[in-house]
């Protein structure tokens, strides 16, 4: 990684509440989108608030480049940190119009150097038509777009987003997501993105920091972190899965299927509307993967991949185990019963056939020219 202009955020913090405590040490890279991921109550929003300086009970260290934001005797107040914060409930100022909210941030960023202008932000987020309306007269999606614009206009050095899509319905989510995906590239802004929705992680984020019970459970690139078995507790059993990266090899327009080349193998999935040759990410849930010792005949399952068992992890106090597989250099997870593992006499290193029932599709990067929502 070239670490030239990028400034890392390094945290080693703890906070104690009557019913909850958090202790996290992690360095966030100064680029891309990092997901802070975990179930509700795991402390991800609290960590974000500590980084912003909103939790005065936090102890430990936070440093940004060579600036100290939190130390034994140091506390840099939130308004001097140059951190943008997008709240789940937007927190637009009710006494101002949308334009007034944007101006509020723009004026206060006056002398901060930025690579983008007021109009750039308004254009990218398509908020000019909303200028004269008050927060109460905007829809949820419009409100969140104005809020993101307002935060950008404060010219932050780092963007913190606290479940910005959680209050929106699926259609609005789809509207806002491309805008968020564009932040790092279009505005040169690293983002820390809090969410408990796995599809937002796989679609938007480059890295993931998974929190469980106030601690970091796992951290790293999205694909490899999601493959780790010990994440089952964080994701919830039925969400556990893995990601396969491939290229569209062919499109069957009659049966509405796409063929995806994984390198050593091909799989067929319900049609993905992107041109052949384009890279796609496929998410395969562990519960949708079955195992066989030989290639079975007469099955409705179309995807059968040669795989090798890397690891078998029985789940404590359940009938199940999770099997980590190698498929031509990529990883796959299968959730099968422990009884099945015994019956098949599965061992690490063994060759098996992985049967994939269903696949969901995530785009790795959203195109820059994604259509603006009307």
């Amino acid at each position: 990684m070239s670490g030239d202009a990028m400034t890392d955020l390094s945290t080693d913090v703890r906070i104690r509440f009557p019913a909850f405590s958090l202790e996290v040490a992690h360095a966030f890279p100064g680029q891309g989108i990092t997901a802070l991921f975990g179930p509700s109550g795991c402390g991800k929003s609290t960590l974000l608030r500590i980084i912003a300086g909103f939790e005065r009970g936090a102890r430990g260290r936070i440093s940004y480049g060579d600036e100290t934001w939190l130390g034994a005797r140091a506390f840099l107040p939130p308004h001097r940190r140059g951190v943008g914060y997008v709240f789940q409930d937007t927190r637009l100022f009710p006494h101002l119009t949308a334009r007034g909210n944007l101006d509020y941030a723009h004026k206060r960023a006056g002398d901060v150097a930025a690579r983008y202008s007021f109009d750039d932000v308004v254009d990218v987020l398509d908020i000019a038509p909303l200028f004269d309306r008050r927060a109460t007269q905007l829809s949820g999606g419009e409100r969140q777009r104005v809020a993101i614009g307002r935060t950008l206009l404060a010219r932050p050095r780092l963007m913190l987003m606290d479940e910005p899509l959680a209050a929106l319905d699926t259609r609005r989510k789809g509207e806002i997501m491309p805008y968020i995906g564009r932040l790092p590239d279009a505005f040169g802004l690293p983002v820390i993105y809090v969410t408990h929705a796995l599809e937002e992680v796989t679609q938007l984020c480059d890295r993931i920091v998974a929190l469980a019970d106030g601690h970091v459970a796992a951290a790293g690139g999205v694909a490899e972190t999601l493959e780790r078995l010990d994440l089952a507790n964080v994701q919830g059993r039925f969400e556990a899965g893995a990601m396969l990266t491939g290229r569209i090899a062919a499109q069957d327009t009659e049966l509405y299927m796409s063929s995806v080349d994984l390198g050593t193998a091909r799989i067929e999935v319900p049609q993905i509307a992107v041109p052949p040759g384009e890279e796609v990410r496929l998410r395969v849930r562990a519960r949708d993967v079955s195992l066989a010792l030989t290639r079975p005949e007469g099955l409705s399952i179309r995807n059968m991949l040669d795989a090798r068992v890397l690891n078998i992890a029985p789940e404590a106090a359940t009938a199940f185990a999770e099997v980590l597989l190698d498929v031509g250099g990529q990883h796959l997870r299968a959730r099968v019963t422990r009884a099945a593992i015994a019956a098949l006499e599965l061992r690490e290193g063994q060759s098996v056939i992985a049967l994939i029932k269903a696949v969901s599709f995530d785009r790795q990067a959203l195109p820059r020219d994604a259509p603006a929502p009307g």
Binding site: A52, H79, Y85, F93, P94, A105
Partner: protein, 225 residues
């Protein structure tokens, strides 16, 4: 002789206006602190600011008389610095009125600040606004309705006071004789026509102010939420 003397009426309005201004300056930080503090002293402070609501005005007036008199530390200091006494003076009346009307300023403001909460202030801080900046540009406009209520109540309550004023200020024409005392005096001397005139003025004035406030609130609702 039937025409009432309007001097005390103007004195009363002047007293109410100055008291309200003073209370805005004193009451705002107190209300802000009460709305945001997590200190254990909060309940004590709340009880103290609410005391004028429940104490008989004569009790408050009596203590003020004691603490403001030239024989007391405060009253003595004031006398040596300014050359005049706090008791039986217009200045003393302002001090007494401010204390007496304090809860009418603090409680609506505290309620308004609590209603706003920390969330908009955090948003302002994330947009590079200092706490002071956020107070004036976010909290104050969002608390506009609370301010309106607090100002009207403090002003009206100061106009209506009687007991405290009588104890601390006495009844000195042109200096401490307020309209409520004058009305009492007119009634005592069976000068009902003058009493009627003043009472009617106060009644019409109070009703008009309240009507204006409620109408304003209806027409220009403060945008919150």
């Amino acid at each position: 002789m039937d025409m009432p003397d309007l001097g005390p009426l103007w004195l009363t309005f002047r007293l109410a206006a100055i008291t309200t201004l003073l209370l805005l300056l004193i009451g705002t930080p107190i209300a802000w602190w009460l709305a945001h503090t997590r200190s254990r002293l909060k309940s004590v402070a709340e009880a103290i600011t609410a005391l004028p609501l429940v104490l008989p005005p004569t009790v408050l007036g009596f203590y003020l008389l004691v603490f403001l008199s030239p024989n007391s530390a405060l009253g003595g200091l004031w006398l040596s610095v300014t050359g005049s006494t706090l008791t039986f003076s217009f200045t003393g009346l302002i001090v007494a009125s401010a204390l007496y009307s304090l809860p009418f300023m603090v409680q609506p403001l505290q309620g308004a600040f609590e209603g706003i909460g920390r969330a908009p202030l955090e948003a302002a801080a994330s947009l590079r606004a200092s706490p002071r900046d956020a107070f004036f540009t976010v909290a104050t406009p969002m608390a506009a309705r609370g301010y309106l209520t607090a100002i009207v109540l403090s002003f009206a309550h100061t106009i209506g006071e009687f007991g405290v004023v009588l104890m601390v200020g006495g009844n000195i024409p042109g200096r401490t004789k307020v309209v409520s005392i004058q009305i009492y005096e007119e009634v005592e001397t069976i000068n009902y026509a003058a009493a009627h005139g003043l009472a009617a003025i106060l009644l019409v004035f109070s009703f008009s102010v309240l009507l204006a406030v409620y109408a304003l609130n209806r027409r220009f609702p403060v945008h919150v939420g």
